[in-house]
Symmetry: C2
Amino acid sequence: MIDWAAQVDQLLLLLRNVRPMGGPGVDLLVDGGRIAEVGERLPAPTGATVVDGRGQLALPGLVDAHAHLDKTLWGLPWRPHTAGDGLAALIENEHQGRAELAEAGVTVAQRAANLLGAYVAAGTTHIRSHVDVDTVAGLDSLHGVLETRAAFADRITVELVAFPQSGLLVRPGTAELLEAAAREGADLIGGLDPAGFDHRPVEHLDTVFAIADRHGRGLDIHLHDGGELGAFTLDLIIERTRALGLAGKVTVSHAFALAEVPGPRLERLIEGLASAGVSLTTVAPGSRPPLPLAFLRAAGVAVGLGSDGIRDLWSPWGDGDVLARAALLAWRAGARRDEDLAAALEVATSGGAAVLGLPDYGLDPGCAADLVLVPATTLGEAVVTHPPRTLVLKSGRIL
Amino acid sequence: MIDWAAQVDQLLLLLRNVRPMGGPGVDLLVDGGRIAEVGERLPAPTGATVVDGRGQLALPGLVDAHAHLDKTLWGLPWRPHTAGDGLAALIENEHQGRAELAEAGVTVAQRAANLLGAYVAAGTTHIRSHVDVDTVAGLDSLHGVLETRAAFADRITVELVAFPQSGLLVRPGTAELLEAAAREGADLIGGLDPAGFDHRPVEHLDTVFAIADRHGRGLDIHLHDGGELGAFTLDLIIERTRALGLAGKVTVSHAFALAEVPGPRLERLIEGLASAGVSLTTVAPGSRPPLPLAFLRAAGVAVGLGSDGIRDLWSPWGDGDVLARAALLAWRAGARRDEDLAAALEVATSGGAAVLGLPDYGLDPGCAADLVLVPATTLGEAVVTHPPRTLVLKSGRIL
């Protein structure tokens, strides 16, 4: 990926009286797209723009670690959901809906741009988005989102996963398309329920790991399969991550099985994920049980928060506000205390940054100046009330 | 309760081009606090105020069937949650917090008024609120909320449950206080986990049913106990409702057991609730499983939606927007189709009205003119987006 921060003009910005992660009020000097200094009553350098933070919370830029930019209908009129139940019906419904959209001249690039605008306004500075790759539309969605990514490059960093949404082995030709996607700019290779949907878990995983390995890419695999079937698939993923030395490069998304297997089995799985360096994303699902986040945190497994599809042919939910999504994550976990609410915010910030492997994320000197101001007194209040953001910086630029 | 609608001046209002429950656009004539006529292009009577509804959705007034007005800290600065885990710790924390509030001179009446203002703005026209009655504060909370209820009587209808929050038999003297509460204006008698918290389920229920029966009041019993313990308590409640002929007068709140018992046991429980005329309320809990709403609806068991405590010493969540709560209910149930989203809205409107036994609720001619306009194209969109309400009528008055 291009290092946009390096291309930013020599921006000089003094942010006065903000409270990083709810701590005491400090001043924050931003220089050339990075946080240069943090301290009390910093002198304003000549030529610096000075902004009064009025004691608001400063958070590092929000991270959406699991999005589907190509699917969204955000900004279009309400479309009642039309799919039947089950994964196959949802996939079929999406093929029909996409054909209608294409006929109406609504492009993937436009739709993704609508949604990215909402993400930016809500203080999201990094997104990992899956992009459908299938034998019907080929790489069209990837091309559309690549176009939008370029247009938004100075406002938000977007990482793309080539995602076999319609199945991999059940749709011959898809593996070749994933390979082509890697050549054309996809940052990671995806997968989809290797057992439950594709029905050949070992071959499915061997295929996507081989493609990723060949192109020096990471992997991010959708795993809805629950219980022991999902747990078995996690074992296979851990095994392959170890064998190929891909620690820190492999993510499993959803991983509902971790919410469903008995304790001793969970212990072994979490040990495996931690030692192999496999990360997770959750989308704070409404009707599936939440992940055991405290166990995962204690074991050092990185977990990022995603919004999943937003107002699309899969689901009418979502609004591009990652802080609101953190509220749902906290609420589903029964969080009440400020520290428990703040834990959800961590998933939406540093957790996602760890999943994406962002080297210069945070609010310390030297970090990229990606941050957001929230009018709240504590992190807990920020999560529960998720009020409109009052300032968003991307690489030191005010957006 | 006083029939405020009858006291309203002869209000004459023609609401043009609104879509009742998402149906085709019609005009709605409101006269003397009631809906007088519904039809296409109604002539404007002399002296009528005419309002253009611009094709927005008209919903009957939202109903919060399970609130705790006396507990709220709404409108006060953020207060991080301080309680330990478990019911006893929460109760103890509340006693301490209430003492602090009293010392600071913040009254129950003020706090309840802050929250009622939010409820009114969001289009809620009826609330059933539990009010703590215990041997520490006696009837102070009841008196405070009665004062606020009177002050808001032309804006929102409030029904009060005398609620033994700190336990009934474990706190001798509480039963006498419930009795006093019934004399002083409580509309219903409450209960709290007769088995799990009070440890004497039969005596607990016999006590509250006897008080309700003596004073001609209904009952609304908090039942958090899950699994077979909760199911057993439901059996006891059904039995007593039948024996005392209290069909339509008894509600069980939360009733998590219905989400936890096996199918055949659930069938028998639902049959019992339906045939005895026991209704339910749910607060769309984040971390407990949702009620089997489709089964309950099919069996004719009335279910109302509540917000539970809002920003109080029990929980920092909630905002007094019943439509937003309906969104959480739908989201937790995995609703995606418009009809499934609308089902959640039904719980928040006609479901709650059935629980409260409102005789003239709805949007038909003759109904009380309690309604709210929502800028949305379908009921599903109204639930998912729950945008700010553009008009609220209570007994025909524009609020």
